[in-house]
């Protein structure tokens, strides 16, 4: 466990020098590099390269913008009960501008932002949490008299890489849920001229943020992304395909209520609305709260927080089918479907009866069969 120190990472000092001063042994540092290499899905032969690059690294300039958000992601990423070296790396690098945790306030803070952007133009890493409200000229979020959009566009111009941390920065999250009154969008909808890394999740696991930054610092570029801009090393498998309860799913063993026998036995949460089959996230591997547990491990279904529009398409969280149009009809699809199918059978029976009755009436009237000729007997049909 490492404690935050009052002495920041000085310009000119390398990371290994700085960590040493903070009481991190070479051995622990190498272990951390090994873990990051594994998390990034690289071969272990790469560990020395990662270690060498990180050890020699000078303090990178990082600007962290907090836009329309709840600060939950900042909490998730920066504050942990038992900080690891990874947390420390995040802690020490995010110094140029982070309005929640920086000492400066008001004009002083704004000046720090402008200064950092000017001094490190084209070199700094831009981290963003929170969405950008676009409705009504963006008046729903202004800092120092500027709208979120202006601040972001301005900061993105000189950034070497842009990392959107959390569901809000990814696509808008809860603010963007129907009916999205502020017109909230994610970073990639505003910054379109350079690739944006989306660290999905509400909030995301801090290891993913650390590993992405480590990748960037080691290789000088962002990791491979999926179709939605999420780093593939973390978001290339579904929860459902890595879940320890998958054996129960395949066996046909399901929890039906949260206090039933199946729940006590730790069966699969599919029937109580688990969105694991729809969600790409590394939760079962990385785990939460310093590796303690994760939602499904604790008996709660996954709500799909790493997927775009999850508030709308993954809810109701305890039902399997989404509430597509927003008025609850969908939860009754099976009832409606079964009723219509039964109706079709009943309708067909009624129609057959009506046809029979009609036929009898016709025959009474005409006293003769309507269609006379049968195919000749013995003829192949």
């Amino acid at each position: 466990m490492y404690f935050p120190s009052s002495r920041p990472w000085a310009d000119g000092e390398t990371l290994s020098e700085h960590l040493e001063r903070r009481g991190v042994s070479r051995r622990d540092f190498l272990k951390f590099c090994g873990e990051m290499t594994a998390v990034l899905g690289l071969s272990s032969a790469m560990t020395p390269k990662v270690a060498a690059a990180l050890a020699a690294m000078k303090r990178p300039s990082v600007i962290w913008l907090q836009l329309q958000e709840c600060t939950g992601c900042v909490e998730s990423v920066l504050r942990t009960g038992n900080p690891s070296i990874g947390d420390l790396v995040l802690d020490v690098i995010s110094l140029d501008y982070q309005h929640t945790i920086m000492a400066a306030a008001g004009h002083q803070a704004e000046n720090a932002l402008q200064q950092a952007m000017k001094d490190n133009k084209g070199e700094y890493l831009l981290l963003v949490t929170g969405s950008i409200p676009l409705n009504d000229d963006g008046i729903y979020l202004t800092i120092g008299g500027r709208t979120a959009k202006e601040i972001l566009v301005d900061a993105a111009k000189g950034a070497k890489a842009v990392i959107a941390v959390g569901a809000c920065a990814h696509w808008g999250s809860v603010q963007a849920a129907r009916p999205n009154p502020t017109g909230a969008v994610g970073v990639s909808e505003v910054v379109t001229d350079k690739p944006v890394v989306n660290i999905a999740g509400c909030p995301p696991i801090s290891d993913v943020v650390t590993a992405t930054i480590v990748h960037y610092l080691t290789f000088g570029n962002i990791p491979e992304l999926d179709y939605d801009g999420r780093p593939r090393f973390a978001y290339s498998s579904r929860i459902h395909d890595q879940c320890p309860r998958r054996a129960n799913f395949d066996a046909g063993q399901f929890v039906e209520e949260f206090d039933d026998e199946a729940a006590r036995k730790g069966y699969c949460l599919y029937q109580v609305g688990c969105k694991g089959p729809a969600t790409f996230s590394p939760c079962p591997i990385f785990l939460w709260n310093s590796g303690t547990s994760w939602p499904i491990g604790a008996g709660h279904p996954c709500i799909g927080c790493t997927e775009r529009h999850f508030w709308d398409t993954m809810s109701p969280f305890y039902k399997r089918m989404p509430d597509v149009a927003g008025f609850g009809i969908e939860s009754k699809v099976d009832l409606i479907g079964a009723a219509l199918a039964a109706g079709a059978v009943a309708g067909v029976a009624a129609h057959a009866t009506a046809t029979g009755v009609h036929q009898i009436r016709e025959r009474r009237r005409e006293r003769e069969l309507p269609i006379v000729n049968q195919p000749p007997s013995g003829k192949k049909e």
């Binding site: 939605d228 498998s237 066996a251 046909g252 529009h309 699809v333 079964a338 199918a341 049909e381």
Partner: protein, 248 residues
């Protein structure tokens, strides 16, 4: 087989003209060639299997107890679902090929009631079924416009099931072929849950279609002696020689 070397088609018959009808009153007309008949029954079985296993996947009504390692119920159901899906796709490929290689009752054009006359006849057909004008049903050798519309609709629905099904299937392996082929659908529809929802709801449309389809086929046989059911088994049916058929 290429389109050039396809088997000789049944000669186009002009009713009551050159071809001598068997009795003078009826004649046998060849409508559905072998690939179409095989496709129909294979797809029918596949769809019944898909709908049953699909309903179980949607709502697992049987459950097992004890150790997970001693059961594989959902596993087998999903295996059956995906196997039947493969069969259904195969029949689909045959059907698409036959849209171009088939006879005039089977070709692409026969799928769409696009002429004004078709729409008028469709109204007549509906009136006939509703017993408003029972005697007035237009006579077709192949499919009447109402049948064209509903069968083409079922083909379209099958295509929807296939693409939504494979979009879900592909997600278990994002490096695989199915992910690459069908993943475009997911952002297009607004997320995998919407894809799942469409797949789930469309199943009910099949379950509504099936009884109506079976009933109308049987009714045609009983009421009009139309030989509809035998035509999808043997390929042809007996038709009256003294009737003028719209699609002769």
């Amino acid at each position: 087989m290429t389109a050039l070397e396809r088997p000789p088609r049944a000669p186009r018959m002009h009713l009551g003209s050159e071809a001598q009808p068997p009795t003078g009153k009826y004649q046998w007309i060849y409508l559905w060639e072998l690939p179409i008949r095989v496709m129909h029954w294979t797809a029918a079985v596949a769809i019944v299997v898909l709908a049953t296993t699909g309903l179980y996947i949607g709502k697992p009504f049987f459950m097992t107890g004890g150790e997970a390692s001693s059961h594989y119920l959902m596993g087998w159901v999903r295996f059956l679902h995906f196997s039947a899906a493969a069969v259904l796709v195969t029949t689909g490929i045959v059907r698409v090929y036959w849209l171009f290689a088939g006879n005039r009752f089977e070709r692409l054009a026969a799928l769409f009631p696009i002429r004004p006359r078709d729409w008028a006849n469709m109204v007549k057909q509906v009136k006939y079924y509703l017993m408003i004008k029972p005697g007035d049903a237009p006579q077709y050798l192949g499919h009447n416009p109402l049948q064209q519309l509903s069968y083409t609709g079922i083909y379209a629905l099958t295509a929807v099931m296939v693409v939504t099904g494979f979009a879900m299937y592909g997600q278990s392996n994002p490096d695989g072929m199915f992910y690459r082929l069908f993943q475009w659908l997911v952002p297009l529809l607004g997320g995998i849950q919407i894809v799942r929802f469409i797949h789930h709801v469309s199943t009910w449309i099949f379950l509504i279609f099936i009884p109506i389809h079976v009933y109308l086929a049987m009714r045609g046989d009983v009421m009009e002696r139309s030989g509809t059911i035998s035509s999808i088994i043997s390929g042809g049916r007996f038709v009256r020689s003294d009737v003028k058929y719209v699609d002769e």
